[in-house]
Symmetry: C2
Subunit: 329 residues, 2 copies
Amino acid sequence: MNEPLSRAPVSSADIDAAAGVIAPFAVRTPLLCPPVLCDRVGAKVFLKPEILQRTGSFKFRGAFNKMSSIPQDARKGGVVAFSSGNHAQGVAAAAKILNMPATIVMPADSPLLKRERTKSYGAEVVLYDRDREDREAIAREIAGKRGATLVPPYDDPKVIAGQGTVGREICDDLTALGIAPDIVVAPVSGGGLIAGVATAVKARFPQAMVMSAEPENFDDHARSLRAGKREAHGGKGRSICDALMAAIPGEITFAINGKLLSKGVTASEAEVGHAIAFAFRELKLVVEPGGVVGLAALLAGHIDARGKTIVIVLSGGNVDSDLYARLIG
Amino acid sequence: MNEPLSRAPVSSADIDAAAGVIAPFAVRTPLLCPPVLCDRVGAKVFLKPEILQRTGSFKFRGAFNKMSSIPQDARKGGVVAFSSGNHAQGVAAAAKILNMPATIVMPADSPLLKRERTKSYGAEVVLYDRDREDREAIAREIAGKRGATLVPPYDDPKVIAGQGTVGREICDDLTALGIAPDIVVAPVSGGGLIAGVATAVKARFPQAMVMSAEPENFDDHARSLRAGKREAHGGKGRSICDALMAAIPGEITFAINGKLLSKGVTASEAEVGHAIAFAFRELKLVVEPGGVVGLAALLAGHIDARGKTIVIVLSGGNVDSDLYARLIG
């Protein structure tokens, strides 16, 4: 039996469509090029600050695109999602706009700020024990009981297409400047953001290298990209990057990322902390640990960017004030 | 004797010229419109984040425009400036680009970050006692001894024209969106930024109200605008807004501001602290006390903005990490 012609789960046209869907509510974030960062790295460095997105992370894009596709008659059952905090807020904010009830399953040790902000959008928050309970099972049970639609954090074509609008905007802004990127880097957990970004970027700039960035302790993408197949991380199971603690790449996302990504880079916990302090002191941007990991890898010299044009996605800025105070001190 | 026809010290054409001068080196900062802030205030709120400017404040614009006008044969004598910290960095950074030596006279109690950053551009820093010494006299003595050119922090047409590019960019971005502002607010110390901004904004949007914002303890602009003449502040002489501690409006700046500004608003020390925490938590922007005072006045309800379009300049983000940690905690 012949294999069917492989068709990508998400196309550039899907991302164009998502851009239209989210436009009335999502923030069109700018592309920054801070001189202090370019000087430091010896490269043309652009930052895509998704910290400025509605809810403080890119997650609103994918959540809103997915939830807008739920048929009207299924909307009254609401939505359910599991998330360490940023997808939680994205789903909760989208549910408020779309007038749907939302239940979010969050780990009990997720940052307080993320739990409070999720509740502030009117969502019900159900806490679980990260070490002993299965968040997907809890979410599926709630979905079954309430007739709610599950909004997956990454392994879903509509979610990936929504996150891909980040890449589409990067391409639009670079095109307007007459600049082609050599390298594009985004943080990965399940890989939804980078899958969407890579789809958009490779369609417009096929020669660009797209790289995933993750904490040393959760290096499943770096490993999987080296191995050419999905592999779990080799770390110790904890990181200050609370947003990036997926154990293994998603199936749909890796079907995309395995083809489009050049490599995976990592940063240590200390390098992440240093990058947060740098962003505070020099860039005046509040970035959370999981959002800064690409910049951390660049500042630590783990990406060969000298003389090149590199784009780094700062994916989120929802960090507790006590951790932040400790890291910038 | 008849009075001569009064001609404004700075024209809209001067600001256009300054925009051309600073373009190769200044950051073209974006105009943000955070949904969370619009929802909170019940207005269309735009932020002009000059925290993203080279050196972390708008001051680079005026300093570079002024220093670019120094004749070549006078450049080797270098420049001297007095400043609590942001003008210091603006002058130091401009001097480095223009290859001129720079000496900056700073108060001994200015934030450590500002002193360190000023030195990092290669400037010599001379400290003085804010309560017992006259910074202008010290700067003039150095200027005389070294043949250096004094770069005033605000009371200078070239400096005002440079700061006016902030207003010009606001107008350009609003025009592109097809939006006219009802209110434009910027922090004031000596009044250079607001004089430039008002000149640019009133030329393009004559019906817009331009307002100065300052700490309660340094309310000299609010008083002077009410009185129709320059008056000193009525406060106790200290504020966490270290950048806004001028005692009385400038002469040239008030010749402009007395005509173009609608009123002056103030914020208390507590309101400033609250606005910094709001910007951290909700906007993901690092703003220093003196840079956030307009936003503080808005959030505290001191500006009647409901249903209107309002633009707030966030003028700087150079804040020491220990003070910042205390304010966001």
